[in-house]
Each structure stands twice: as C-alpha cells, then as structure tokens.
Amino acid sequence: MQWFNAVVQGLLLGGLYALFATGLSLMFGVMRIVNLAHGDLAVVASFLALALVGGTGLPLWVVIVVTVPLFAVLGYLTQRVLLQGSLSSGPLATLLVTFGLSIVLQNVLLEIFSADTRTLDGGSFATSSFQLAGSVTVGWLPLVTFLLACAVLAGIQVFLTRTGLGRMLRASSDDRETANLVGADSRHVYGVATAIAFATVALAGLMFAVRSSFDPATGPSRLIFAFEAVVIGGLGSLWGTLLGGIVLGVTQSLGSQIDPAMTLLAGHLVFLAVLAFRPQGLLAGRTT
C-alpha cells in the first residue's frame, strides 16, 4: 500500500513536471532554443507572487491570475528584444544568452530576497486532503495542480491543432522558411511560442512554490527536471512530455520511498537509462 501511495503521489507530481516542461519543449521545438533560464523563471514567478501577496495582501488566486498573463507579456518581449537577435548567430549564441539570463536572474533574486528558503502560503487548502483508498491519502492541492496541469496541456494541444496561429507554430517548427512563404512572420510566431512558454513556466512555478520551498538558487535543479521530462518523453510531443513528467515524478517518488536521499538520483538514473537505451525518448516520432 505504501508503494501504491508512492506511485499516486509521483503521478500527481509528474503532471506538474509536465506542465513545467512544456515551455522548454515548445521553445526548443519551435525555435531550437534550449532556455537555460527556464528554471529561474519559475523561481522569479514564485518570488514575484511572494512579494505581491506580502505587499498587497491580495489572495493567492488573484496573484496567480495577474502573474501568469504578466509572464506571457514578458515572454513575448524577451523573445523580441533578447532572443530574436541571437537566433541568427547560431545555437551557441542563444544558449549563452539564456545562460547569462539565468545567472543574472539568480543573482538579482539573491540580492533582493537573500538566500533564505521560502514557501508560498496556500492556506488551509494547501494542507487538506482526502482518503482515496485504505492508507492512500491524496492532498487536494496536488490533485488540483495535476488536473490543472492536464487542462492546460489539453488547451495548448487544442490551440496547436485547431487554430491558424497554432498550426503556424507547428509549421514553423518543421520548416521556418516555408512557413514564411505562407505568410508567417517568424518573429511574431516565435514571440507567441515564448509567451506560452513563459506563462506555463509561471503557472508551474507558482504551483511548485505552494507545494515546496524555494530559494534563489532553486532554478537550475528545476530546469533539470524539465529537461529530463522532455528527453524521457521524446522531443516534439506534448503527450510525450506528459508521460516523461509522470515517469520522472513516479521514479522520484519511488526512489524516496527507498531512501529519501535517493529522490533526485533515481530520477537522474532513469533519465540516463533512457538516454542510453532509447535516446529518442519513450514517445518519439509522434507529433503533437
């Protein structure tokens, strides 16, 4: 029963990992950018929410509703101002720009908020839970985050397949030049992709912040989770990312069941195993 419990908890966590990893996957898929500041952006969102809650006393849900669109706008601007120019200089330049951004964000947070560990108070809702079966207790918060993550992924999926702009995102990912030939303005398409990535990162960052503690240096380890989820699931597939996130979440949860110090290591080892034996990922080859 203990093991079953671990699987359930891991599954719920995995949904969050998937939501968090979607932005990384999307930015890579559409622009071939690996955003090394991905994890730090989530932490920035967490600190922003912390400051907003502390400064204005607004309820958390209002803060979330404000932060997520704000990040979408920030994402669009970041792409147009910072990333677009480096795209033509090749993959090294974009990698360096995002890595530089990561270092800048981490250290600015450190200077403003100090290295103290924080959590975002989710109120009584964050700690309440219900009995699923026997000894398996499911927290409302993990369940709601999981459902929200799935809903957002489904929404992105609908956007990508049913709308003209979404189709153009996928088309640009296949062949940018030909997408230009049917009328896509790459800068706008890329801006939209980055906006979606930033919005999902912010949402995931806020959910992480309610679930577990964070500090200015948390970003890189979060980035690694997202990266592992993407690689395990297979590049360029939204459902692959969901599967990858769940595999990672369940593995970590089972690992911690064996020995709490094994949590991260177990996840990394599954990642390395996938890399060694199935480098294309579990769901590779399918498109969204």
Binding site: T161, G164, L165, R167, M168, R170, A171, S173, D174, D175, E177, T178, A179, N180, L181, V182, G183, A184, D185, S186, G236, T287, T288
Partner: protein, 241 residues
C-alpha cells in the same frame, strides 16, 4: 500596368552573382516560363521575388507597389506565393493542415479549401494523412494547393517537374489553365524546355544569372533556344529584352 515589374535585379550568394541584372515584365493573366540550365539562377530569382533572398540591387514592383525590401510574409499579403523547389511540405502536419497554412493571412480571393479539393479530387480522401506519407507528385499538388490558398495574384512555381514522372507532370500542368482562369498570373521555372514552351505565353531564358533570350514560344526557333540555354555563340543581340 504590369502585374510584376523587375528592373535590373541582382542577387548574390556570398561573392557569387547568382542573378545578374535581370529585368522582366509580367502582365495579368499571363503564364511566363523561366528556363535555364542547372545553376542558371532560376531558383534564386524566384526566391528573391518571394522575399527569401535579399537582392543586392534593382527593384521589384508588384502592381505598381515597390516590394523590393518587404519580408516574405508581407509579400504573401501583397499577393505573391511561391511553390518552392523540392515542395517542402510541413512534415508533421496532415495534408489538410498543410493546405490550411495557406489561409493564415486570410487574403480574399477565389481559392478555398473546397475549390482546391475540386482541383485535386484525390486529396479529399487523404486529407487526414500525414504529408510525409505522400508520393512526390501528390506532395507537389499539395504544395500548389497550399500556395493557391494564400489567394495569390502571382503564383511562382519552382521546378514543378522535378523528380516526377512525365505523366504526373502533364496531369499537374493540365490544371494550370484552370488556375490562370481563376485570375492568377503564373511564373513557372521549368527544366523541361519543351514542356515550358508548350504551357507558357512567353519564355525567358537565364544563363549564368543573366537573361539571354525572351519571347513568345511561337517566335523563337529551336536553335535560338538551344543556344541561349547552353550559352553557345553570340547571345548579346538576342538577350536583354
């Protein structure tokens, strides 16, 4: 006023002058074929017209509007569509999704998804199939349909016959009159000279980036065309319009 007016267009690939001072005019409703040997600069000319390669000098006007410096996506709105060399369908999209990308700019005109399905009836059944699974000729048809759905005034087609069986090429060319009748002007690049002479109102021959021969198929002798194509003899009096 001509639909397309190119003056002294020069395009470089690095140090190479791929298109060298080409001028040409294209009237509405015409079919112009550009012929020339491999590496003559035909694709470069079309890519420059579509906005993928920036010209070094010269001008391009579409219906009187200077579009020399517009990016590719704005030229789609202005009414230019290119069927690129090698078809270049979006591999991860279905046939129908590939076609629908053409409607992104929502330019008004005669072409709708329905109309394209009427032009190529086989597509209806296979519209949910992945574009990468089609044969070369089928892909070419989808690429043409995709370009038509942008509702262009000027359709540029680069090497329609590349890698296709003659019977397929003929079948696709049979749709050309219908496309032109719908109000579209066409500029096609063709390796197959006899095919080009058959379908075009006028032909234009490029040699090492320069335009060496232009005229109506009926007015040109086979020898003239052959000389221009292979660069034999003195060409200067034929060329340059």
């Amino acid at each position: 006023m001509s639909l397309l007016s190119i003056r002294d267009l020069t395009v470089h690939h690095g140090l190479l002058r791929a298109v060298d001072g080409v001028s040409l005019e294209l009237e509405r409703g015409e079919v112009l074929a550009v012929i020339g040997a491999n590496g003559a600069g035909k694709s470069t000319l079309l890519r420059a017209l579509a906005g993928l390669n920036a010209p070094t000098s010269g001008t391009v006007h579409l219906a009187g509007r200077d579009i020399t410096r517009s990016p590719a996506h704005q030229r789609v709105s202005a009414g230019i569509a290119l069927v690129p060399e090698g078809r270049r369908l979006f591999r991860s999209l279905t046939v129908e999704e590939n076609l629908l990308t053409g409607t992104y700019r929502k330019r008004s005109g005669p072409w709708t998804l329905q109309r394209v399905y009427e032009l190529f009836p086989w597509m209806t059944e296979r519209r949910r199939q992945n574009a990468a699974q089609l044969s070369g000729g089928e892909q070419q048809a989808v690429a043409i349909g995709r370009a038509l759905l942008t509702n262009p005034d000027l359709l540029l087609v680069d090497e329609l016959s590349l890698g296709l069986a003659p019977v397929i090429v003929r079948r696709i060319y049979e749709t050309l009159p219908e496309i032109v009748a719908a109000g579209t002007t066409a500029l096609v690049v063709e390796q197959d000279v006899s095919q080009a002479l058959r379908v075009a109102d006028r032909v234009h021959c490029l040699l090492e980036g320069r335009s060496v021969l232009a005229g109506r198929p009926a007015d040109l002798t086979a020898e003239q065309v052959e000389h221009a194509y292979f660069g034999i003899g003195d060409l200067t009096q034929d060329g340059k319009d």
